[in-house]
């Protein structure tokens, strides 16, 4: 009996060790997806910090960025950097416009209505995308064809490596922006206390618009950089939900937390998809979110928020 157990344990260890390369691949590709989730999560953190709203159309901003790049590059035949720049700019303009028209009047009513308003905007955007480009997957131009980047021993395509670099750069860029620039400080003041900030001479409305515009920029960067990984189709807005889980996991008010949460989520997702079942891949994000919100709502790196009566 004991021998049998020992032999079976040995067998399983041998299997596990022989699986090691695969395990390594699974984890590395998980990190690749996770950085993308972290980037989207950053946009959530930004909005949550500045306006205290969960933005349900964040994912659709990503979709919009990707689709606009396709539009500018493939339909108008602009060169790629110009197309990417234009689509990021128009995503910013669109987000600021939508927030100003659809959500700004609702802030003083109640938070519930703002959240439902973002859901409504998400439905509208998704439908308009489907109306113009159709429900099928759209081919996306290869952004990094001319500048291949490959790290020996790491099973990631050059586009994924580029995406990880871009995402890390933009996340650290935003962290620096928040910490050291004048506007970043003003934004932080706004999210701490709106009325005091406005007494200090900060234009709170403009700061809100700034935050939404930045979230549009991050969303479209994520959509464009990750387009090769999550194919471009109208429902690609689901990435927004994953990004949100990332920001919850890492800490709803911390910027490095979003990246950490995204990487953890990506790795866990890939592991569960590989070892348990593919359907479980989608469930794991939801399970993590429910668990985190109940057990530790402030996330891994976030500071607990004390709510005063």
């Amino acid at each position: 009996m004991v021998e049998k157990i020992i032999s079976s344990t040995r067998l399983s260890i041998i299997c596990f060790l022989s699986d090691m390369p695969i395990l390594f691949d699974v984890i590395i590709t998980g990190i690749g997806a996770g950085v993308l989730y972290g980037l989207v999560g950053l946009a959530f953190v930004l909005i949550l910090k500045a306006t205290n709203v969960v933005n349900f159309f964040q994912g659709d901003t990503c979709a919009f960025g990707a689709y606009l790049t396709v539009f500018f590059a493939a339909q108008l035949h602009l060169n790629l950097p110009l197309a990417v720049g234009l689509s990021i700019l128009s995503a910013i303009a669109l987000t600021v416009f939508l927030e100003f028209v659809g959500l700004r009047p609702l802030y003083k009513v109640s938070i519930i209505q703002v959240v439902i308003g973002t859901v409504a905007i998400s439905m509208i955007m998704r439908y308009l995308i489907r109306l113009y480009w159709g429900p099928q997957v759209v081919p996306f131009p290869d952004l990094f064809k001319d500048i291949p980047l490959k790290i020996p021993g790491i099973p990631l395509g050059s586009a994924t490596v580029w995406m990880m670099i871009l995402a890390t750069l933009s996340i650290s860029g935003f962290a620096i922006f928040f910490k050291y620039t004048r506007w970043g400080t003003a934004l932080r003041a706004c999210c701490q206390d709106r009325s005091s900030a406005s007494l200090m001479g900060i234009n709170v409305g403009a700061m809100m618009s700034l935050a939404w515009g930045l979230s549009g920029a991050i969303g479209s960067i994520a959509g464009i950089a990750g387009a090769h990984m999550i194919s471009v189709y109208p429902e690609m807005g689901i990435i927004g939900l994953k990004g949100f889980v990332a920001s919850i996991l890492g800490g709803a008010n911390s910027i490095p937390g979003a990246l950490l949460g995204g990487v953890i989520l990506g790795v866990l997702e890939n592991l569960s998809g590989f070892y348990i079942s593919f359907a479980f891949r989608d469930l794991i994000a939801f399970i993590i979110m429910i668990f985190m919100l109940i057990v530790r709502p402030s996330g891994l790196l976030g500071k607990p928020v004390v709510r005063k009566v």
Binding site: G102, I111, S122, L241, F244, I248, M289, I294
Partner: protein, 332 residues
């Protein structure tokens, strides 16, 4: 003043009789197709009523209503298919099971609120869609579950018999909801909605009432889903995804968040009939829901019922020059 009241009561009485007459003889007048559309509207009405009890009455934001609807639908159809239950019992048990599943969601609602609660319930609902989709041995997964024709006593539940069956159940449940609204439970819900801390300091047990709000809401939506399964006789996993939640939410918001029964009924009937009637709107349903939600929030707070009440107040105030125009409705 007294005379005015009595004429008003007469008017209301005549209106109620007229509506009752139309509802009872509706299949005879408009034919079975429109009767079926009204059956669908009745199912969605129960779903929207459950949503309104949770969102409008108890003030808990939930994006998981579609899951309760789906649990009711799948439970009742499986009871009919596998255990050969009678229709009425399967509908009741479907609702009950949805209520039991919904009950524990009230517990996280104690700790988190607002948009975080919305996210937890959304995750819960999407998780159930995955379960419906992947548990192929039980739910047939993506092929959909086909429900056999059921009977109630001597009648086959199709066309007119189905209409009256749904009508009776909807009537009973709407009457119950009306009583819940006015009972101590309803008042406790409203107190929690208007101020949790104040409510709990007045001796309202938040744990009991929040879980109860979720359970009642789950029961209503579950019965709605079970009736929908009996009516359409084929259910698919993605019938119960986030889009259904949005549809129910739009019904609630268009009808009126604060007017539990009239608002839900008006919203459900309008949003089910209008696309069927115009025909073209079926394809752009989602766009319509999004635009309607934004429109109602921006310009018509309190929905149609709230708007009507406000208009009535205004007219009354102009006629009588009363110093107070009564309680302001709407402003959800």
């Amino acid at each position: 003043m007294l005379k005015r009241m009595s004429t008003n009561k007469w008017k209301v009485g005549v209106l109620v009789l007229f509506v009752a007459f139309i509802i009872i003889f509706y299949p005879k007048i408009f034919g079975w197709y429109w009767a079926f559309v009204l059956v669908l509207a009745g199912c969605y009405f129960l779903g929207a009523l459950g949503y309104n009890i949770l969102l409008g009455l108890a003030g808990q934001v939930s994006f998981g209503q579609a899951a309760f609807f789906g649990i009711g639908a799948y439970t009742s159809s499986l009871l009919i298919l596998l255990l050969d239950f009678p229709a009425w019992a399967s509908v009741f048990l479907g609702g009950l099971f949805a209520g039991i599943i919904a009950y524990p969601i009230g517990i996280p609602a104690l700790k988190i609120s607002g948009h975080y609660l919305a996210l937890v319930t959304l995750a819960f609902s999407e998780g159930f869609v995955v379960i419906f989709h992947e548990w192929v041995s039980l739910t047939e997964g993506p092929y959909g579950l086909k429900v056999p024709l059921t009977t109630f006593g001597p009648w086959d539940l199709k066309t007119e018999a189905l209409y009256y069956f749904v009508l009776v159940i909807v009537g009973i449940l709407a009457f119950t909801a009306y009583n819940i609204d006015r009972s101590c439970i309803g008042r406790a819900f409203k107190a929690i909605r208007d101020g949790e801390v104040a409510a709990s300091s007045l001796g309202i047990n938040l744990m009991n009432y929040k879980t109860m709000a979720f359970a009642i809401s789950g029961f209503y939506s579950g019965v709605g889903g079970a009736l929908l399964a009996l009516a359409t006789r084929c259910i698919m996993p993605w019938d119960f995804d986030f889009r259904l939640t949005i549809a129910l939410l739009t019904m609630v918001v268009v009808g009126g968040l604060r007017s539990t029964i009239a608002g839900s009924a008006l919203g459900a009937v309008l949003l089910t009939f209008f696309p069927e009637w115009t025909g073209k709107l079926l394809e752009i349903k989602e766009l319509m829901y999004g635009l309607l939600l934004l429109f109602c929030f921006l310009f018509l707070r309190g929905g149609i019922v709230g708007g009507l009440a406000r208009a009535k107040d205004k007219i009354g105030a102009r006629k009588q020059l009363r110093p107070f125009s009564g309680i302001r409705h709407g402003n959800a």
